[in-house]
């Protein structure tokens, strides 16, 4: 079983690579394009995958940040992410994994409850971001955030590490999550 490990490769010079995992290719593609529009001192690479494990015979750079995209309208997308998570090594979850939930704006189309993804993110001790990727402005704002996170995770921002960022993003506002 091929598992993604965060430090099994040497980093590329000034390169930061993000892996977006999700079933809805069109949304991932648009998010990728939005990210690449951002001004960034690092060289960005975006890998898109429907699910994990990734094909093994490919030469790919070290992955600095994985974002699992769940569409709240589709149970299929959640199930896909849940199965893909098994192919990620535990050490990745030290700040190099994030969850992104889209579709929360259209409440009537949601077949997955917010709490479900919140619980998933909590289980994996990773931040959860909400963004309606179909809306261009929200997508652009999210792309900006992801680029900043990616730079930190790739170690391109001096004196901030992925683990630092993770502890900053952990919210102590929701003690009820412990009860879930």
């Amino acid at each position: 079983m091929s598992v993604l490990r965060p430090l099994d490769k040497l980093p590329g010079l000034n390169t930061a690579t993000i892996l977006l995992v999700g079933t809805e290719d069109a949304l991932l593609q648009q998010l990728a394009e939005a990210m690449l529009k951002e001004d960034c001192t690092s060289e960005l690479k975006v890998h898109l995958a429907k699910s994990l494990p990734l094909p093994s015979n490919v030469n790919r750079p070290r992955i600095d940040l994985i974002v699992f995209v769940v569409n709240l309208h589709s149970k299929h997308s959640l199930r896909n992410v849940e199965e893909s998570l098994h192919h990620v090594d535990a050490t990745f979850f030290l700040g190099k994994v994030s969850f992104l939930a889209t579709g929360a704006g259209q409440e009537s189309h949601c077949s997955i409850h917010r709490n479900t993804v919140m619980k998933l993110a909590h289980t994996y001790r990773s931040p959860l971001l909400f963004c309606d990727l179909e809306i261009e402005d929200f997508r652009a704002a999210m792309a900006q955030r992801l680029v900043r996170m990616l730079q930190i995770c790739a170690g391109h921002v001096p004196s901030v590490s992925a683990l630092n960022l993770l502890s900053l993003l952990q919210s102590s506002e929701n003690p009820s999550l412990e009860d879930l």
Partner: protein, 305 residues
Amino acid sequence: MDETVSEFFRRTILKIPLTEMMTILKTWNFLSENQLQTVNFRQRKESLVQDLVLLCEENRASLNDAALLDIIYTQFHRHQKVWDVFQMSKGPGEDTDLFDMEQFKSSFKKILKRALKNVTVSFRDAEENAVWIRIAWGTQYRKPNQYKPAYVVYYSQTPYAFTSSSQLKSNLPLLGQTFETHNSTTPLQERSLGLDINMDSRIIHENKTEKERVQRVTQEIFGDYPQPRLEFAQYKLETKFKSDLNGGILAEREEPLRCLVKFSSPHLLEALKSLAPAGIADAPLSPLLTCIPNKGMNYFKIRDK
């Protein structure tokens, strides 16, 4: 202008509801802007219609113009008609010719006129390579009855034709023959299923092979051409409750459990076709969904074997 043509105009225009009058006349594009401006659209309908007929006479409108107006009216009110669908099948060994709309129209008209001298045939092109054909039938001794026309809507890139008849069905076999003689075929064209060529080399698709597999499977099932336009599909399920546990409230229930699922969409089959490429469903789709065009059914009852 002939009395009968004038009367036909009068009756056709009278059918049009006042709310649609301007839109339909503009679509018809036979009366000019200036002419339409001289008419008072707020008067009583009978007087309005009279004025419009006079304008048509001024423009020396012919029977064909009236027939065209009739087609447009029917296109606006297509839902009020009952349509039958016919699927044409190619005979063995027939060659694939290129389809030419003008040639189709002229040979269609020729064939009908050869069979029946008294017939009025009119055409109007519509969206998606479709053509609306209006046929007014006469007999050997009688002029065509313009008030009971038949309509055929033929989508040239598909083997389907829709017909609606306000008269006896006796003329349908003739229509069928007309299509056979014309030899309708589908041209071969390259059509991509919306696979965006990724221009930015910094974006790498990891599951390229999977994506290609999905595109291939979708193409195998749905083909390259636009799907027939369908708006509903309904599935009724009747099944008895099955349980591993002995006993239980539902286990002894004699009555089967019933479930109804209805799909509706402005273009259901295109929506189903785009499910797998969009990542919303796995490919291949359930045969219950993909068998709709093959079986020619969209109402299904699923029972226990």
